[in-house]
């Protein structure tokens, strides 16, 4: 986060002349990057270019040592979209509040922006999970045609997870940060007044006042269930199928990752004991003290590397999978709403046609409005879908590369330990040999 923010600030300062500067700043980049940038514009086909969120995606990987490489790799193709971004949010600094009524955690939400909708360039407020939840509900209500990013699970199994443990708070904080960044990077959602209120208003308890704002987006009236769609357009069918399969694969990957963690921790237990046997052997083998202690030391180093690997995987790998599982739910939800809106239109159209046959009145305005709504829904959803696909590709590229890097890192640590042991022992051996000949 600390890496992402200053970079973001600098570009946000330049914002008013960004578009004029763009060709120049692009020219400063290597040639291949310019090509990549152009391609990105062409790909999104009319939709605003600021589709991706390099700052937010990389923020999750800040813990990683090889972060720099990853970031450079991610940033480049999106260089111009970074230039266009003008709203930067960060969630950090969790604090525990204990009152007589309840105990809860708040997080600091910092905003930096150059948008005219904001009075100040910087804001800093404290929010708790409930507030995020409120924001999401408001966004969903006011922008029903859009895909709202998921929040981390609200409920945790009591007794199984300690809600106030450092690990849990850290994981949740990261997920909230991710959520807010995704919203702030969205071309439509980021202009939602509820978001502005969430980011700027000191005391969010005045929710009644905000309710007035919720009129901005008109919510879709849900028709009664049971109406069967005549035909869901092929592309949305494909989305549905994709989501089902992807959901299944995500579940499998999650299970594999958890199983690996379990196997690794059992391996670790055995390995520790194994190292201990070498240490205790030293007691009866004075001559072999160095090699035996050396091997014990290397085993300990390997244990440490393995432990780090496991910690990192459970802190950084699993949450991303979980976010995507929740994301899939959100998408399914929007798809369902789209179907409902189409159903409403088709229902009205059918009724209108019937009436038309009877009394030959013109097509009522209401039906046309419905048709517009469906088309609008389809367009929004398609745009969000494309954006989501591109984000997903990025996130998983980083996630899996990160997994590979962590494993490589772990192997490298133990390799270094073993190699230095070999050098030490071989030196000792030649030393002994020379002293023998002397």
């Amino acid at each position: 986060m600390s890496v992402g923010a200053p970079r973001a600030l600098a570009s946000s300062g330049q914002k008013p002349i960004t578009e004029i500067l763009h060709p120049l700043s692009a020219a400063e980049e290597p040639l291949s990057v310019t090509v990549g940038g152009d391609k990105e514009v062409a790909l999104t086909n009319g939709t605003p270019v600021e589709t991706s969120s390099p700052a937010s995606t990389s923020s999750l990987f800040n813990r990683l040592q090889l972060d720099d490489d990853l970031e450079a790799d991610v940033r480049d193709p999106y260089a111009d979209s970074t230039e266009m971004r003008d709203l930067f949010v960060t969630v950090d600094d969790p604090k525990k509040h204990v009152s007589t009524m309840e105990t809860y955690i708040t997080y600091r939400v910092s905003t930096k922006t150059s948008r005219v909708e904001f009075d100040l360039p910087e804001y800093c407020v404290r929010r708790r999970y409930q507030d995020f939840d409120w924001l999401r509900i408001k966004l969903e209500d006011s922008q029903p045609t859009h895909l709202i990013p998921p929040l981390p699970e609200k409920f945790v199994m009591k007794g199984v997870v300690d809600r106030f443990s450092e690990e849990f708070v850290e994981t949740r904080m990261k997920a909230l940060d991710k959520f807010l960044k995704r919203v702030a990077d969205h071309p439509v959602l980021s202009f939602n007044p509820h978001l502005t209120a969430f980011l700027t208003v000191k005391d969010l308890n005045k929710r009644q006042g905000l309710a007035l704002l919720s009129k901005v987006g008109e919510s879709v009236k849900h028709v009664a269930g049971g109406y069967k769609l005549r035909a869901r357009p092929a592309e949305f069918c494909a989305m549905g199928e994709y989501l089902d399969t992807f959901n299944q694969k995500l579940g499998t990957i999650d299970r594999i990752a958890q199983r690996i963690l379990k196997e690794q921790s059992e391996y670790l237990t055995e390995l520790r004991e194994y190292g201990g046997v070498y240490s205790s052997w030293v007691g009866s083998e004075e001559e072999l003290r160095r090699p035996l202690e050396g091997v014990a030391g290397c085993v300990t180093t390997s244990c440490g590397a393995l432990e780090d690997l496991g910690d990192n995987m459970s802190l950084d790998f699993l949450p991303v999978l979980r976010e995507y599982v929740l994301y899939l739910e959100s998408i399914k939800n929007v798809l369902r709403k789209r179907d409902q809106s189409q159903a409403e239109y088709e229902g009205r159209l059918e009724a209108a046609i019937l009436r038309k046959q009877e009394d030959r009145t013109p097509m009522p305005l209401e039906v046309e409005k419905c048709q517009d709504k469906v088309e609008c829904f389809n367009a929004d959803l398609k745009a969000d879908w494309e954006r989501w696909q591109s984000n997903k590709r990025h996130d998983f590229k980083q996630l899996l590369t990160g997994m590979a890097d962590r494993n490589i890192n772990s192997y490298e640590k133990s390799q270094a330990a073993w190699e230095s042991l070999i050098t030490l022992l071989q030196d000792k051996q030649t030393e002994d040999k020379t002293s023998e000949t002397n």
Partner: protein, 449 residues
């Protein structure tokens, strides 16, 4: 098979070097002891010609499954091992003669080792490879006919022969030479030595351990050491087997990524190719553990050899106790004979005895009788003195010879285990390198997504 033979030649080279080293080391020892001037017993031991391995190239070239009828006419399947020998001088002269070869069963190796154990009680006789696979992790077969097991045993038997043939004392044994060169009459020759009778008569005195009065401190320590060696190596082998089990699990679970990535790639457009090929690398990663653990089994075999060496070391200690016990018994016997003689000649009964009572009750025996008994006792005392002298010599000889060989063994052990540990470290490095390679390959694919 190819890997196995490479390994074998490297072992052989190492052993041949050892053989040379050891003969030099033994010479040094003889000098030291001669200087110490304790006695010349060592000379008989170190008076050896250069070890057999310097005169003969030995290898166990291959194993073959056979079936036949055993002693009670039952059909059985067994494995035979091909021993090949070639004289060194022919090789040195640049000729390359075809090796002499013969087949031996595991049981024949056992017979050879038993013979050596009995004939050289003061030598830490190299152990045979395990009869049945022990300390195995679950994927490894415990079947005696399993090709991998047979191959490891072939290496182990060759190792045994090389150790014996490079031993400064054992290598000059005629029966060993016979074993290596005469296919047929060998067994008869072994049995003719009567070593079994010698072994049997001594076995009954095994419980002597508890009755030795003045055991040699050095041998007590050595016995204690052999217990420690055994307990540490067996603990290590058990722990290693469990570690291998878990490591196997970790790698194999990664294989599931291979499957799921490939399935997932089917629904992706841009990511598809990268995922698919990353999946292949994950499959390869999961498969790589088989070779890694197979190689590590070699390290386990080295540890096992020393686990069994602990028993051989203990056998030397036990034989010391046995001779010590026999010496103490003979001494005891002599003392009581002398006492009887004294009582009889002086007529003073120092201790209360049944004989004393009868004498008092029934009067003294006739002088002629007394003379005859005294004479008999004197003869017995003479014999006893002779026996004590013999036993003292035997005991001292055992202590001296055993001490020399134990020192040799300790040097060999330190060297071998140090090398084994270094090799283990090398194996670990290669495992890390393999892992890094595989994950780097996968990473490249991920980056293409």
């Amino acid at each position: 098979m190819r890997r196995g033979s490479e390994e074998a030649t490297s072992v052989k080279r190492r052993m041949a070097e050892d053989g040379r080293d050891e003969s030099v080391a033994a010479d040094d020892d003889s000098q030291h002891t001669a200087e110490d001037g304790r006695n010349g017993l060592n000379n008989t031991m170190v008076e050896e010609s250069p070890t057999l391995l310097r005169r003969m190239e030995i290898c166990v070239a291959e194993a073959e499954k056979r079936s036949g009828k055993n002693a009670v006419n039952m059909q059985e399947t067994f494995t035979v091992y091909l021993i090949e020998t070639r004289p060194m001088d022919a090789l040195a002269e640049g000729r390359n003669p075809a090796p002499d070869s013969l087949w031996r069963r595991y049981s024949e190796f056992e017979l050879l080792r038993n013979y050596l154990l009995v004939s050289f009680p003061y030598i830490v006789v190299p152990p045979l490879p395990e009869k049945r696979a022990e300390f195995v992790w679950h994927k490894l077969s415990a079947d005696n006919m399993d090709p991998d097991f047979v191959e490891r045993r072939r290496v182990g038997l060759e190792n045994f022969l090389l150790r014996v043939a490079s031993h400064p004392v054992l290598s000059n044994d005629k029966i060993l030479h016979h074993f290596l060169t005469e296919e047929h009459s060998w067994k008869e020759v072994v049995y003719e030595t009567g070593f079994q009778a010698k072994a049997d008569s001594r076995l009954k005195a095994l419980s002597a351990t508890f009755r030795v009065r003045n055991p040699d401190k050095r041998f007590m320590d050595m016995k204690h050491y052999s217990d420690e060696l055994q307990s540490h190596t067996s603990q290590l082998l058990r722990a290693r087997a469990r570690v291998a089990d878990r490591l196997y699990g970790v790698y194999k679970v990664h294989g599931n990524y291979g499957r799921v990535f490939s399935e997932w790639s089917a629904i992706e457009r841009e990511m598809g190719d990268g995922l698919q090929s990353a999946g292949h690398h994950m499959d390869a990663y999961a498969a790589s553990i088989d070779d890694i653990l197979e190689e590590e089994e070699h390290y386990a075999d080295q540890l096992k050899e020393y686990l069994f060496y602990a028993e051989a070391l203990r056998a030397v200690c036990r034989k010391h106790e046995l001779t010590q016990f026999e010496l103490e018994m003979a001494t005891q016997d002599l003392i009581s004979k002398k006492q009887q003689h004294e009582e009889l000649s002086t007529g003073i009964v120092r201790t209360f005895s049944f004989k004393g009572m009868t004498n008092k009750l029934f009067g003294q025996e006739a002088p002629e009788q007394r003379e005859a008994r005294l004479k008999l006792l004197e003869e017995l005392i003479e014999e006893g003195e002779e026996a004590v002298k013999d036993k003292t010599v035997e005991c001292e000889e055992h202590v001296e010879k055993a001490w020399v060989d134990v020192q040799r063994f300790k040097e060999q052990k330190d060297k071998d285990l140090r090398e084994a540990l270094i090799n283990y470290a090398v194996m670990q490095v290669s495992m890390c390198k393999k892992g890094i390679q595989m994950w780097s390959n996968a990473k490249e694919c991920f980056l293409k997504m």
